[in-house]
């Protein structure tokens, strides 16, 4: 290994590990884990212990772009054309509502507050316009991370995914307009209004073209392979290309990655499901790293009193704007009640685009001075400080909203459900048990009244001594008269193991698979070990599948 690689790998390893511990700690406190990642970042970063400095943060910038690319790609994967066909108009109205209202509210409030401090009208309006435009952007990463953590599904989830993905484009457009007006108002800069718009059109259009081309290419590459390793290699390769080209060509990175995912899901909806699944499984450490660095980068030292006031006005204005705008947009769009009531709460996060735009603004208006500070620096510091705040309040708000909307836990897989269940959740309490001397004819009589395919055999003390399955029972069908004189004791197999109601279901299922058992008795967790019910592998699989379909049905019912 080259010696200079070691520190970077050490930083990555430590950041992922520490971030993940922070995430778990916050999860235990019932706070979304993303807040934990960011908190660890703040602790070790520029506002904390300074273990991560500018050099390290800048050196790991490519990982941030990669994480944003993955987030964009996965969001694109959620945007099948049916979503737009069904909800397209609704999404556009909500998008316009939440973005424009935030822009207007923040723009007005910041302009007024700034004027009170500076007495400079044009500069205050410029300040308001720029911060207003920045406020309209919503960070997808933290929001989406919460949606995935809580396995949400439904109309609110669909709307949030679409809105957080699309409002960056609108934010860029608004910024472009605001920057052009600001140039006119302050008499600074060389960029005209028209050229600003042309540049934004290029940034957005270029991203879309790049994403579509990448989607077409990946679709061709994975068309004839079922090898997950090769598919993963192709995706990561093309995603890295999209991110790299997007940086090189200065197009919008998230939009390019999102269009990439969107193109793929629309070209090959069934085949690409696995593709998105592979990336989802691969992404957690990258997210962790991304958010740790988001936290580490936040620096709010040097902010004066008036800047804190503007920051407070910005946060209040943006929060009001998002809540009001999302509600108005949802009403205008005729959206469901859950979207009207809770969408605004899901739109508080701001990060990459907001900070990116603030850096652009600082470069463009670096020469202007406001309240004794460079306008550019003021914008950067206010956006950073407010990012810190909204990144802390944003994820819990999303959690609250999806919980209240009833969408939590509706996007589960069979695997997720198994992990969350204990034996008592799925055991068959109605599976009859028979005394050892019961005749087989008695068992036959009880079969029509129960779902069970296997039965426990009990001794005189009611302890489970064996199991009789259909395999044994069917042997008696050759000579029906046998059922009158063969007893269950004659047919039973000894019960090798017994389960307790509190045993974890995945452990029980794994045990059954490893030992070739198709069923196991469940007994009480005391000395008596009395019979409680039965677990049958086939019945568990059926129950879990039904529950997944039920939850998806609820979510899709909300969606419909």
């Amino acid at each position: 290994m080259h010696p200079e690689h070691l520190p970077i790998l050490l930083i990555i390893g430590s950041a992922i590990l520490a971030g993940s511990l922070g995430g778990r700690l916050f999860q235990m406190l019932r706070i979304p884990q993303v807040v934990g990642y960011i908190a660890i970042g703040v602790l070790v970063g520029k506002s904390g212990l300074h273990l991560l400095g500018d050099r390290e943060i800048e050196g790991l910038l490519p990982f941030n772009f990669f994480a944003l690319g993955i987030i964009g790609f996965l969001i694109g994967g959620e945007l099948h054309r049916n979503v737009f066909k069904r909800h397209g108009r609704q999404l556009v109205r909500i998008l316009l509502g939440e973005s424009l209202v935030s822009f207007v509210v923040v723009g007005c409030l910041v302009s007024v507050a700034s004027y009170l401090f500076t007495g400079n009208g044009p500069l205050s309006i410029s300040f308001g316009l720029i911060l207003g435009a920045i406020s309209s952007a919503t960070a997808p990463a933290a929001t989406v991370d919460v949606l995935w953590e809580y396995k949400t599904r439904g109309m609110l989830t669909t709307t949030v995914l679409a809105i957080v993905a699309l409002d960056d484009a609108l934010a860029l457009l608004l910024y472009s307009v605001a920057a052009s007006i600001t140039t006119v108002l302050t008499g600074e800069g060389e960029t005209s209004f028209l050229s600003g718009l042309v540049h934004t059109a290029y940034e957005l259009g270029g991203a879309v073209v790049l994403g579509v081309l990448a989607g077409l290419l990946l679709n061709q590459l994975i068309r004839k392979t079922h090898d997950k390793g090769k598919t993963l290699t192709s995706i990561i390769g093309i995603l890295a290309l999209v991110i790299g080209l997007s940086r090189l060509l200065e197009t919008d990175l998230i939009l390019a990655a999102m269009t990439f995912g969107m193109t793929l899901i629309n070209l090959a909806p069934h085949r690409s499901r696995d593709t998105f699944g592979i990336i989802e499984k691969f992404s957690p450490p990258i997210y962790t790293l991304f958010f740790v660095f988001v936290g580490a980068r936040l620096s709010i030292s040097g902010m004066s009193g008036w800047m804190w006031t503007i920051a407070a006005v910005y946060v209040v204005g943006r929060t009001m704007g998002k809540l009001l705008g999302a509600n108005l947009g949802a009403r205008w769009a005729g959206a469901t009640e859950s979207v009207r009531k809770y969408l605004g709460l899901c739109l508080f996060s701001q990060a990459g685009v907001a900070i990116g735009l603030s850096i652009l603004a600082s470069m463009r208006f670096g020469d202007q001075s406001i309240g004794g500070v460079s306008l550019g620096n003021a914008i950067i510091m206010i956006v950073t400080a407010t990012t810190f705040l909204v990144q802390v309040i944003g994820p819990p708000s999303v959690k609250y909203a999806v919980t209240k909307a009833g969408e939590r836990g509706l996007n589960v897989t069979e695997e997720d459900l198994l992990e969350s269940y204990t034996v008592s959740d799925v055991m068959d309490l109605k599976a009859p048990a028979f005394p050892a001397q019961a005749r087989v004819s008695e068992v036959f009589r009880s079969i029509p009244d129960c779902d069970s395919m296997s039965f426990c055999v009990l001794d005189d003390a009611k302890a489970v001594i064996g199991i009789v399955t259909m395999d044994e029972l069917k042997q008696c069908l050759a000579d029906p008269s046998m059922a009158g004189w063969v007893v269950v004791f004659d047919l039973m197999r000894p019960a090798p193991d017994k389960l307790l109601p509190g045993d974890r279901l995945p452990d029980a299922m794994r045990h059954m698979q490893e030992t070739g058992l198709s069923c196991l008795p469940v007994v009480t967790d005391d000395e008596a070990a009395a019979y409680v019910g039965m677990i049958e592998m086939q019945a568990v699989t059926r129950k879990v599948t039904q529950e997944v379909l039920r939850r998806r049905g609820i979510a899709d019912g909300v969606t419909a």
Binding site: C476, W485, V486, D497, H511, G516
Partner: protein
Amino acid sequence: MMAPAKGPLTPPTSVVVQSLSDVLTPSRVCMLSTHSKADALDSLITVLAEAPEVGNVDALTQAIWERERLMSTGIGLGLAVPHVRLPSVSGVVMAVGISDQDIVDYESLDGHPVRAIFMIAARADQHATYLRLLSLVSAKMKDADLRQTLLALRDPTAFYSLLIGG
């Protein structure tokens, strides 16, 4: 609570019993002369224990009586089929006892005395083979003519020949 599995519930490889001659030899057909169920079963256990498949006579005796305690194996029509599965038995085997006297205390299902006892022992995991053998015996003895003829015989060799051939 989950202890290591002592044995899987998946069906083990079973020996297919095509004919009673697969499990019964002429030497394991014997004449009994008793009214008592206990005497008859003990005699038959001694005969069956001579089969090389039976590894432990005490275990066989205990299992036969344990099974009788659960429910009588007198299945009616003058027949009894005591049957057990045991880890100490290496393969399915059978012994038959014909009594020239009515065994009145057998508590058969139809309340009639027993005259012929078909004792079966199998390995613990030979479920299918064991049940097929029970079915085979039951089906064969349902033939009223054959049953009447067999129960009237007093010669073990003739009984064996007719049972196997019949």
